[in-house]
């Protein structure tokens, strides 16, 4: 992004060409700034970047996935996905969204790689299965893992869209027969930004792209490589039902009074306290709602291996590390029961033994006395 690519128009050029007024453009910059959590001082910076920087070419590839990331992405409201796709980036290849198909489509990808070596962003939705030489996912007649490696080799940076690309998701759940592998374990020599979730929030997806274009760098990432501005806090930390949690007011059954009153879903297994995402602040569908607001607990879809963390409907979940599916309470109660019974039996034998030794010593004493 740092080196100008003159043959591509700037964002501003494209927007003006589409009939967008300067005033609307500035409004759009303000909205984007607030969506990214930036102050008004950043609006001119965003506007300046849009006016001067060329659009960034993006190659968007799909591995083992369900396309829920794309579905989410196209529903972004701030900024609108249309603005992102048509004005901000140059989405040169996306086999789901593009008009071209077959050889023409594959040629478009090769063209982009050739033309913008080291300058395009590779967005990966889904992940490659590595078992059987990657034969469980074929795109364009070749294993997806080959396409991924090819596209990544000249990319400037890689975005791992969703739980699939970031952590593996359902296809990587135990026992993972296809050996579905997250992107960062296959591509190890490029900066990778993980945007987990199943799917990720639309505004988070477009927000990440906008940030990268505006500031010419990856957003600040956390320990796991996720953008800290969206994944820095747990859903629980900003949940609007949190006061009910602290009060001890919980939903006990799906149809009880607590459920109607909007109590905390913790006892129904809500994973909000262990899930890092922006659902409780950004929300979904233009900020309309998010799972907890709709009355169902969070299932923790943006966490590593969320399919292998036991039931969605209990806070005390199975520990599969021991080879058997049992939760801490089942293991603990069983072990404490065995130990307790052992102690009781031991105490009984101890008492019997000492009583026995007393009765045995008595006759000898009486003999001596006699």
């Amino acid at each position: 992004m740092s080196e100008p690519v003159p043959e591509i128009e700037t964002f501003y050029d494209v927007m003006r060409r589409q009939g967008i007024t300067r005033r609307s453009f500035m409004k759009y910059c303000s909205l984007t700034a607030s969506a990214l959590g930036l102050g008004p001082a950043f609006v001119p910076q965003i506007a300046h970047a849009m006016e001067t920087k060329p659009r960034t070419p993006v190659i968007w590839v799909h591995g083992l996935e369900c396309t829920c990331c794309s579905e989410s992405f196209i529903r972004s409201a701030h900024p609108l996905a249309k603005d992102v796709v048509l004005s901000m980036i140059s989405l040169d290849y996306d086999d789901t969204l593009m008009a071209a198909a077959g050889h023409a489509a594959e040629a478009a990808m090769m063209d982009t790689i050739e033309k913008y070596k080291g300058q395009y962003i590779l967005a990966v939705e889904g992940n490659p299965p590595l078992n059987e030489d990657g034969m469980f996912c074929i795109t364009g007649g070749k294993p997806f893992v080959e396409k991924l490696k090819l596209a990544a080799s000249d990319a400037k940076a890689v975005i791992s869209w969703g739980a699939c690309a970031s952590y593996g998701c359902v296809q990587a759940a135990k026992p993972n027969p296809t050996q579905a592998t997250p992107v960062h374990k296959v591509i190890t020599d490029k900066p990778i930004i993980k945007v987990p979730g199943c799917p990720p929030i639309a505004e988070v997806m477009t927000g990440v792209i906008t940030y990268m274009l505006t500031f010419d760098r990856l957003p600040e990432l956390d320990r796991q490589g996720r953008p800290a501005m969206f994944y820095g806090q747990r859903i629980h930390d900003k949940c609007y039902r949190r006061p009910h949690f602290d009060a001890g007011q919980f939903v006990e059954e799906w149809d009880d009074d607590g459920a109607r009153k909007g109590f905390c879903l913790y006892k129904m297994g809500c994973k909000g306290p262990t899930t890092y995402n922006a659902c409780s602040t950004v929300r979904w569908n233009e900020g309309v709602s998010f799972p907890i607001q709709s009355g169902h607990g969070c299932i923790g879809c943006s966490e590593d291996g969320f399919w292998d963390h036991g039931t969605f409907y209990d806070r005390v979940t199975d520990l599969t590390q021991f080879g058997v599916e049992a939760n801490a309470d089942q293991i603990g109660v069983a072990a404490a029961g065995v130990v307790g019974a052992g102690v009781a039996a031991h105490a009984a034998i101890s008492a019997l033994k000492s009583a026995q030794s007393k009765t045995q010593t008595k006759p000898t004493q009486s003999k001596e006395e006699a």
Binding site: D222, R223, Q224, A228, G232, Q233, R234, D237, P243, H244, F245, D246, A247, G248, Q249, F250, V251, E252, G258, F263, Y266, K267, K271, P273, T274, T275, G300, E303, D304, G305, H309, R315, V316, T317, D318, L319, Q321, N327, A328, D329, I331, G332, V333, A335, A336, V339, G340, V343, H346, A347, I349, S350, K353, S354, S357
Partner: protein, 255 residues
């Protein structure tokens, strides 16, 4: 602790190996008095504060995973039932942690009995013989147990694994969870956050912390039973020793 001292054989008239962490000094005391000062005041104080903290931690910890039925006394804003349960858990955890560090400090400045629970003399053959001897006593194979001034070898094993290792485990995993509320960028999160990634995430960390609680519960059952049983059946005091600090022997046999 091996039986090499030449004058001891002369004094006692016969060779008696030293048991547990008994020292010549202790032995000298026993020959004069029937009691030895074992647990100094800070050790006793720590024991009872720790016991109280652990009790609070187990009860509140259980309830944090499986909360009590909902209570609705007023609007959520004016009610803090679950908040107080969590507060009690965190407060007790802080007390336990500070106490544990204090106890470690005391193992450096206190008497030699204060060091016993922090180490296992695994390379000492004599110690292993005593472990076996104590095990035989618990299996009803020995008619008479040995005398011990500090912990008997089995108790020492239990203390080491459940308290020294177990409490360290609970403190580390507990603070790794507590760090989440402290938030990214905090010292705790920076130090202990990676540990959550290592075990497979926050949810897994919660579960193994809970499993640790059950290990502590099991220790409590064994510890309380053994203390009472030994108080009745062994040759020395147990329960009162942790109150007064002195171990009193019921007989004056030298071994």
């Amino acid at each position: 602790m091996t039986d090499v001292s030449p004058d001891r054989g002369a004094a006692g008239g016969q060779h008696h190996p030293l048991t547990g962490d008994l020292t010549e000094e202790d032995r000298a005391t026993i020959t004069r008095n029937s009691s030895v000062y074992v647990y100094e005041a800070p050790v006793r104080l720590w024991h009872w504060i720790n016991a109280a903290a652990i009790l609070v931690l187990c009860v509140t910890g259980y309830l944090i995973g499986r909360p009590l039925p909902s209570v609705e006394m007023s609007e959520a804003t004016h009610q803090f039932v679950f908040g107080y349960i969590r507060f009690a858990h965190f407060a007790a955890a802080m007390i336990m942690t500070v106490g544990f560090f204090g106890r470690i400090y005391w193992s450096f400045v206190g008497n030699h009995h204060s060091r016993q629970m922090f180490k296992l003399p695994l390379l000492n053959r004599h110690w292993w013989a005593e472990v076996w001897d104590e095990a035989r006593w618990y299996m009803f194979l020995n008619k008479r147990p040995k005398k011990y001034v500090g912990h008997n070898p089995l108790a020492q094993v239990a203390m080491f694994f459940f308290m020294t290792v177990g409490m360290t485990f609970m403190i580390v995993t507990g603070f790794a969870i507590y760090a989440e509320a402290e938030g990214a960028g905090s010292l705790l999160e920076t130090v202990l956050g990676p540990l959550r990634d290592l075990v497979g995430g926050s949810q897994t960390m919660h579960q193994i912390h809970r499993l640790g609680m059950w290990a502590i519960v099991i220790f409590m059952i064994i510890h309380i039973y053994a203390a009472i049983r030994e108080d009745i059946m062994s040759r020395q005091t147990m329960v009162s020793t942790m109150i007064s600090g002195t171990r009193t022997f019921k007989d004056d046999d030298p071994d």
